[in-house]
């Protein structure tokens, strides 16, 4: 959906469907990272995603980077080959050229938790 301008008084512009699509993509991306099939997005629990992040990315991921360089560069932490393989699960219309340059488990936990909650809200607001 393109950007839109209110035409008449009282018209509402919020689109739950567009927000839902966005956060499903965000959550799918996290699911791919931890090896979960995004097609299971409707049945997976946040507990499983969070535990997956905790197991894939040790909390001290940065310690390795610090040992290499006190200032981490922008290279990818997640091996690109693994990410590309995970892409086979689903097509990403907006993320085709996307690269992940995660620096911390903490960051990914926040992405997952926020995508989870906003997806939930968007579904509710869409009446789903």
């Amino acid at each position: 959906m393109s950007s839109r301008t209110k035409q008449v008084a009282g018209e509402r512009l919020y689109s739950a469907e567009a927000e839902l699509e966005w956060y499903e993509l965000e959550l799918s991306k996290v699911m791919l990272i931890v090896g979960l099939d995004p097609l299971l997005i409707d049945s997976v629990e946040i507990d499983t995603i969070i535990e997956g992040i905790m197991s894939v990315f040790a909390y001290d991921t940065r310690k390795y980077l610090e040992a290499v360089s006190p200032e981490p560069d922008d290279s990818e932490v997640l091996p690109e080959a693994k990410y590309d393989a995970a892409h086979q699960f689903v097509e990403f219309p907006y993320l085709a050229a996307d690269k992940i340059n995660l620096k911390s488990q903490n960051q990914l936990l926040m992405v997952a938790r926020r995508a989870w909650r906003y997806r939930h809200l968007a579904k509710y607001q869409a009446g789903l």
């Binding site: 959906m1 393109s2 950007s3 839109r4 301008t5 209110k6 008084a9 009282g10 509402r12 512009l13 919020y14 689109s15 739950a16 567009a18 927000e19 699509e21 966005w22 965000e26 991306k29 996290v30 990272i33 946040i46 507990d47 969070i50 940065r62 200032e71 981490p72 907006y94 996307d98 690269k99 992940i100 340059n101 995660l102 620096k103 911390s104 903490n106 960051q107 990914l108 936990l109 926040m110 992405v111 938790r113 926020r114 989870w116 909650r117 906003y118 939930h120 809200l121 968007a122 509710y124 607001q125």
Partner: protein, 264 residues
């Protein structure tokens, strides 16, 4: 709780700053608008109906939704702190938009933003022709339309013009070069990479300003200079500072504020 996080001196500074400011309204944030209290109550009720998962594993230490309960009934020094958080964002718009007396003779300010908390001053800018607002299509906009614009309280403003845009369209480049001012919250820079943040910056015209608030992780960014790069928001802040087409200032007030201007 606020004193434990920010320290007494922060609350005192916020209180003094509020007394020494002249914002053109009596309270700017709370006292100006009895509608705001109704708004917060309705948002909280909405969250209850939606049955948001509030377990620790689903929320971590995220303040995202708990903030509305604080907004509804701010105690101790929260009111002053929330005032300062809102003012630190709103000030940039006040400084660069046309004066109300110039409406119709100067081009309105094009603003891309979200809206966690309705501000009557912002609504006034939307109706007096000094700003054209485009809201990100997210739950913030749902709340704004459902519980604020739609409220009897807002009838005094008449028709409130604004636009909306989807995240997907910003990422696709549809907003590139369109805005004079982009106002975001730390939430919008949390991602697996800096691609979306880059597109927010691309959406500015040359000369435009991006303001990103709450970038300190509630002071954590400033707690230990040697480990600053471990902060949740460090990568995003570093990305903004790395853009050669912007001049960037990181302002280390407790909540953390980034202000950057596009120069090329």
């Amino acid at each position: 709780m606020s004193d434990e996080i920010f320290g007494n001196s922060w609350a005192e500074k916020a209180s003094v700053a509020q007394r020494l400011s002249r914002t053109g309204t009596e309270g700017f944030f709370y006292a100006e608008s009895e509608g705001n209290q109704d708004y917060f109550q309705q948002v909280i009720a909405h969250h209850l109906r939606a049955n948001i998962d509030k377990r620790a594993i689903a929320t971590g230490d995220d303040f995202e939704f708990a903030r509305y309960e604080v907004f509804e009934n701010p105690q101790d020094s929260w009111a002053e702190m929330l005032y300062l958080a809102a003012a630190s964002i709103h000030i940039w718009e006040e400084l660069v938009k046309p004066l109300p007396s110039e409406a119709g003779t100067r081009v309105p300010l094009e603003v891309l933003t979200h809206d966690e908390v309705p501000l009557d001053k912002r609504t006034q800018s939307m109706v007096d022709g000094t700003c054209n607002y485009t809201f990100l299509n997210e739950t913030d906009l749902f709340r704004l339309e459902e519980f604020y614009f739609n409220a009897e309280y807002c009838e005094k403003f008449g028709d409130i013009p604004y636009s909306a845009i989807d995240f997907q369209d910003i990422l696709a480049g549809e907003a590139d070069g369109r805005f004079d001012l982009v106002k975001l919250n730390c939430r919008h820079v949390i991602s697996t990479n800096t691609k979306m943040l880059g597109k927010y910056m691309d959406s500015l015209k040359c000369g435009g300003i991006i303001v990103i608030n709450e970038m300190s992780g509630v002071t954590k960014l400033y707690d230990d200079g040697l480990r600053v790069h471990q902060s949740l928001y460090y990568d995003a802040a570093r990305y903004v500072a790395s853009r050669e087409d912007f001049i960037t200032y990181h302002i280390p007030y407790q909540l953390g504020l980034i202000v950057a201007r596009r120069i090329a």
